[in-house]
Symmetry: C2
């Protein structure tokens, strides 16, 4: 038998093909959203599915399985052990799901998404309901194939956030929920109402683009290894090491959309740009979880981008970018406007306080859909009820209610909680960073982002998938995930903005 080192080298070599196929698929997908002419759509679907099939063949190659099994007898440590663990994780997923189920899920995704788009446009939940039922059924089959000893929701959630579970999520969400409802109530009762109309003035797109580019460049998003394009739905994607792209969208009469959207995606992008190059093209070189990813995007977007300190440094530049437009708006009013807290219908436009309530609503409903305690037909009513309970408002239709997000149509159940978990992580990391770097506000005010990015690279990015999200967080912050840092932050920030007790 070849030596451990030889077999490890062989293992690394085996990732080349699936990794490069994955990168080609990332480009096919990026191009589909950014530049592809309409006539290319049909062939693009076929190209993607051919490459996905090839990739599946390579990640389930019996020779790879044999290699992994043999290395599992070697008690590998450190990075080698982590690589083997990550490989096993991928392997199990690829091997345990029957090919017929993969085909059925892939078809259902395409179909589900199409029907969802039309149903949403027409505000016709009944048209989408059969697709949702099928998607839930397939998701349950997927969960059963992966691990039938656990609740289906836990297995699905683990696809996005490893080692998490509905119970763990609930343990964090349940106390948070009461605190948030209380804070939200206090804000509503405060009588303070920032004037958000200033954000809806005329902001020329060229100016928005220039300002956003300059901002994320200063933060550390590297345009030598990235670029920005326009898409209907912004995203970040990795085409290869050294090529991490983001997208954004511009609204002439709504400044926050492109501004915070670009900073958010650049946060994702910086994580991917600083993953460990020495593990590129292996599972160890990837980001570790969606929550960790979201901790990066939301830190840059909210803790930095929506902070008073940031705008002390940047407001002059913003005013100069749009001559005359904001001259009558003092800094404090601008900061109040971009941090306006109010009940809203749409998750992606929600403020930092109510955002979690939107996520909790989805978490509770999708968990009930998957375990069968909520019937698909009862979803619209349940959504309205929860919305009233958590946010104090009810959507006037399903379009802005239970049809608003793409996730379920795409067969993704268990994804939503990662948005909140990541947000909580972002503040916990921020507190730890403050202990190491001292006055973070001073750095942000001065636009001196290099130490901040360096700390994130050191404690998060460069580890790739070496540690579990929990271990990563504990190593970086000395503590398990907790909502306390976030609550401290929210109470202080919004207490000041809304002059609460």
């Amino acid at each position: 038998m070849p030596s451990t080192a030889e077999r490890l080298a062989a293992l690394r070599e085996r990732f080349t093909v699936p990794s490069h196929l994955g990168q080609a698929m990332a480009l096919l997908s990026w191009d589909q959203s950014t530049h592809m002419p309409p006539g290319g759509a049909e062939a693009r679907g076929r190209q993607m599915s051919t490459l996905a099939r090839l990739m599946h063949q390579h990640v389930t190659d019996p020779a790879l399985v044999e290699l992994v099994e043999s290395l599992e007898g070697d008690d590998l440590q450190g990075d080698d052990g982590a690589l083997l663990r990550e490989t096993r994780r991928q392997l199990d997923r690829a091997l345990k799901i029957p090919p017929e189920l993969i085909v059925a899920m892939t078809r259902q995704r395409v179909r589900g998404r199409q029907v969802w788009e039309q149903a949403r446009k027409a505000d016709d939940f009944a048209a989408f309901a059969p697709e949702l039922r099928t998607a839930i059924d397939l998701a349950r089959q997927q969960a059963a194939a992966l691990d039938d000893s656990k609740p289906a929701y836990d297995v699905l959630h683990d696809l996005y956030e490893r080692d998490s579970s509905a119970e763990k999520v609930a343990a964090v969400f349940d106390p948070l929920r009461g605190e948030l409802v209380e804070l939200f109530g206090a804000i509503r009762d405060s009588g303070v109402r920032p004037d958000t109309s200033v954000l809806r003035r005329e902001f020329a797109e060229a100016g928005q683009e220039a300002f956003a580019v300059e901002t994320v460049k200063a933060m550390g998003y590297d345009f030598n290894r990235g670029r920005i394009d326009r898409t209907a739905h912004p995203f970040a994607t990795t085409i290869g090491p050294g090529d991490v792209r983001i997208t954004t969208r511009y609204q002439r009469n709504f400044l926050p959309s492109a501004l915070f959207g670009t900073i958010h995606e650049a946060g994702h992008g910086m994580y991917n740009q600083n993953l460990p190059l020495e593990h590129a093209d292996t599972p160890l070189g990837s980001s570790v979880s969606l929550a960790v990813h979201e901790s990066q995007s939301r830190m840059w977007e909210n803790l930095i981008g929506r902070s008073h300190a940031f705008w002390q440094g940047a407001y002059g530049r913003l005013r100069a970018t749009f001559p005359g437009v904001l001259d009558d708006v003092p800094l404090d009013d601008f900061v109040a406007a971009i941090n306006d807290v109010r009940p809203s219908l749409i998750r992606v436009e929600a403020d930092e306080v109510t955002y979690h309530l939107h996520v909790m609503l989805r978490f509770e409903l999708e968990r009930a859909l998957v375990d069968g305690s909520l019937a698909v037909d009862d979803l619209p009513g349940a959504w309205r009820e929860k919305s009233r309970e958590l946010l104090g408002i009810e959507p006037p239709d399903d379009r802005d209610g239970c049809l608003q997000d793409v996730h379920w149509s795409w067969g993704m159940f268990g994804y939503f909680p990662t948005y909140s978990l990541g947000t909580l992580m972002s503040v916990q990391l921020w507190e730890a960073m403050g202990r190491d770097l001292g006055d973070l506000e001073a750095l942000v005010r001065a636009g001196d982002f290099a130490p901040i990015l360096a700390w994130l690279v050191e404690h998060v990015h460069r580890h790739g998938s070496r540690y579990s999200p929990q271990d990563l967080l504990e190593r970086a912050t000395g503590a398990q995930l907790s909502a306390e840092p976030y609550l401290r932050y929210a109470r202080a920030k919004y207490g000041a903005l809304y002059r609460l007790g």
Copy 2:
């Protein structure tokens, strides 16, 4: 044994993977030229070579070989026979060249091109000479592997223009050469000197782009199945059926570059947009040869785009696009300027008459390089001598002499003649089209391009690789390839422009 129909279906199915891999590679390559950030370059090379390797595995799969051999016993006719013939052609190429040679050639291409770029910039032929020697050596090995019974140059030329040979090329070029030198001499002696400075006025890029887009759209390039991007070196590429893109470049102070460049690439693009969809993803669905491809691009660029009739219809629109810029330039002077014939150093900027002389120069030199009768060290001197002999001028340096084209650095020998062959074909096709459609000038003048494109689709595009280039041409025009139609065209057009006896 499965039935013929079953084995044919199996054969078609086998093209899916290599075809989709090829399309993904086309996108990776397009992206590299258009949008990729610099940091992506290193990984891009690795991605391309992984996909190329996978593709090679699939097109040389022993099961495919067995299938082809079995079908070759079946005496297939029509499209089935053509598919089998094309498959065998690809198979032989893929199987006969040893993998080590493919690797060596691929490496040499990357290296050769890099060194060529620097050598060209520095006007340092000596730096490039060793790379050229290696490239020639590898090309000879490639030719020997493919067919050692023929002269190496013929085997290499056949890679680009099937069933052609140096002898056949020479049989066309030799008489053409004398006629061209004579016509060129008459033009020089005519005393007519169009004022080409009008083309070097200020033409805003936005206007150039709008005019070029409107022009190729009117000609029939379908933006629903295509798009235009900017690159240093314009090209057309097929990302998939329904997705055929072109690129162009703009020079503020030189109108013809983007204008005729875009029309040229759109000519290539229209061919690919109208290939037979029912054979997409099989070798039968591809364009048949480089000369046939060039016949399409040069027909739209020159026979239409540089014709007096076209500008009778389009000059008003051009003037309106650049208000004031061409008001003092009468139509006839503009048409004379874009058809100016004069000795020049650079092939890609040459007029319709001297263009062939540039190609002949390269054909004669590359043939001598490959058969060893010209030593690499003697190339610069031989180039100057031939240039003086054919064009009446000598390049002042190698940068604009033997270092001007990328082809040899890329290991492509036998490619150049296809440019002239395609040009000759374009006029032969045009004459035949005139016999079918009547007054082509009237159509062009009226901007009524639909019948022209329809004729090309009917006689060229829709056949894909069904017929050899020779058969295709004979079916479309009733004759073998001949320089006579081109000479009739050139004598008439330039006789009028230069008021020759």
